[in-house]
């Protein structure tokens, strides 16, 4: 009953966040791009943004350009009798243009890519491997998908929207499987999920502020710095801990910080039955908030969420990675509804990715039953450190775009390719370790079963 109430409370909270939230999941100003009139489809224009100055430009159907003045959520073109005010309704996704001639409604005119066998196979494969990693460590498969889709020519915002729309059902299936294995602490996942949604909203506001100050190049640099700092510090810590446990007999123990926090009696206290932890809600909420904040910044909240649940709350790696899927589901659903309202979800891409990831996530989930807890930390730490290297390689390009560093076009291109390659390698290496660990565990299990059958036959 308590579990049902926890899930119901989370769902209610998420629904209440919908009118408040905007474009959860990070990435991109939704006003940018091509717009077409609802009543008159030939009435079209596009809005562009200068990467360095952050200034908006309005380009009409004839190609005439006009500078745009920004005022909070509205953009203004021209002045006096010629003035046009553009305002975006974030709930419906429509852009209204008001002028002396009246009001017209516009919707996003997004061109979705043409699908061919190669594209579909690529998306299926990335979905499969990403799902495998997510099912095992609770998160991480999605970070490759947005740049992966963009490398196929998918528009940036469509890539983010479609990625988000595949994330929440994958997380749901993964969470369900791991719940059946007795690994999900629903209460923990629900509290984290609710505070993560708030973290996402704040994270987006920070993103928007940085975008206004330093433009797209500045945003990209901020995202990369966040990647590198968080992944190196947290990833390094997680990796080192995994090695330490492996060396000392493979038994995971609760961190000193978590033990200390659990002793503090600060109501309301939460009894987390699956995690076998009693801790104040005031210590779990910040972990969820940080998860949402990171998700809005780098699209993967679990890189803070899972270590946070392990080292701050005191859950085991198994329970933390499983419960993270509940958090990912809640953030993903809220974000997907928002992107859907803007008409940016390409359902074809979502379904093809899901075709792969729904297999992958279940394999990853069952894989956790064949390995020791610290393997989860080992895979997570490895992926995080490699992705940090990948983002580090991308940073000189953004520094060059901001004019803070001199870099040749050829070098920048090479660094971009290396960055993408290392990111793909991170996912492949993580998947390889998971599969290796699973195969070993399954072989041992088969041998034990055979020995057991032989013993029973003798008796």
């Amino acid at each position: 009953m308590k579990k049902i109430m926890a899930v119901a409370a989370l769902l209610l909270f998420m629904v209440s966040m919908l009118p408040v939230s905007a474009f959860a999941g990070g990435g991109g100003n939704p006003m940018l791009g091509n717009w077409a009139g609802v009543e008159n489809k030939t009435d079209s224009f596009s809005i562009h943004k200068d990467k360095l100055t952050g200034k908006f430009t309005y380009v009409d159907a004839a190609g005439e350009q006009e500078a745009i003045k920004r005022d909070a959520e509205t953009l203004v073109i021209g002045s006096g009798a010629e003035e046009k005010v553009l305002s975006l309704d974030t709930m419906s996704g429509s852009l209204t243009v008001t002028s002396s001639a009246g009001t017209s409604e516009f919707r996003k005119a997004v061109k979705f890519i043409t699908l061919n066998a190669k594209n579909m196979l690529f998306l299926f494969a990335v979905g499969l491997i990403g799902g495998l990693v997510s099912g095992f460590i609770g998160s991480g498969g999605a970070f490759v998908l947005t740049p992966g889709m963009m490398s196929l020519g998918v528009d940036g915002l469509t890539a983010v929207a479609s990625n988000m729309c595949h994330k929440f059902p994958k997380a749901l299936v993964g969470a369900y499987k791991r719940y059946k294995y007795g690994q999900v602490d629903i209460k923990l996942g629900a509290v984290m999920g609710a505070s993560a949604v708030v973290g996402v909203l704040v994270g987006i506001k920070i993103q928007q502020y940085i975008n206004e100050l330093w433009g797209d190049a500045g945003s990209n640099l901020y995202v990369s710095v966040a990647f590198v700092v968080v992944l190196v510090i947290v990833g390094g810590f997680v990796f080192r801990d995994a090695i330490k446990i492996a060396r000392t007999g493979g038994v995971e123990t609760t961190s000193k910080l978590a033990l200390a926090l659990q002793k503090i009696n600060l109501p309301p206290m939460m009894d987390l039955t699956t995690a076998n932890v009693r801790i104040s809600m005031w210590f779990t909420v910040p972990v969820g908030f940080a998860t949402g904040l990171l998700a809005a910044t780098i699209a993967v909240g679990g890189f803070i969420g899972v270590p946070g649940m392990i080292f701050v709350v005191g859950a085991s790696s198994m329970v933390a990675s499983a419960s993270e899927l509940v958090t990912a589901f809640s953030m993903g659903l809220v974000g997907s509804v928002q992107w859907g309202m803007l008409g940016l979800i390409d359902i074809r891409l979502v379904l093809i990715i899901l075709a792969g990831s729904l297999f992958g996530v279940q394999v990853g989930a069952l894989g956790t039953t064949y390995v020791k807890d610290h393997m989860i930390k080992f895979v997570m730490g490895t992926i995080m450190l490699m992705v940090a290297v990948s983002r580090g390689l991308a940073m000189p390009t953004y520094l060059g775009e901001l004019g803070w560093m001199n870099i040749e076009a050829g070098t920048a291109k090479m660094l971009d390719i290396s960055s993408f390659a290392v990111m793909c390698l991170a996912l492949l290496v993580g998947a390889g370790i998971i599969v290796g660990g699973m195969v070993k565990g399954m072989k041992e299990e088969k041998a034990l079963n055979r020995a057991g059958s032989a013993l029973r036959a003798k008796v």
């Binding site: 008409g343 394999v363 064949y370």
Partner: protein, 79 residues
Amino acid sequence: MASSSDDKKPYMKAVVYGVISIASLAAVLTNQEAITALFTRGKWYTLLPIATVFFFSFVHGSFANYALSAMGMEAKKKR
């Protein structure tokens, strides 16, 4: 003696859900333009891609679950 676990492998369920899953995906891909136009109209039309994704997750998730079981890939049994 044949292993009793073979009798329990959900081959039929895997095939049924597999057929529904492939048919659903084919239905979307063969009507790409119409579906894309409808699903990207925003506002309440958002429920269409969200509902589609929930439906596909149930069907394809079940297919994957039974297919993996049929292939002998299952969680380790607790001793």
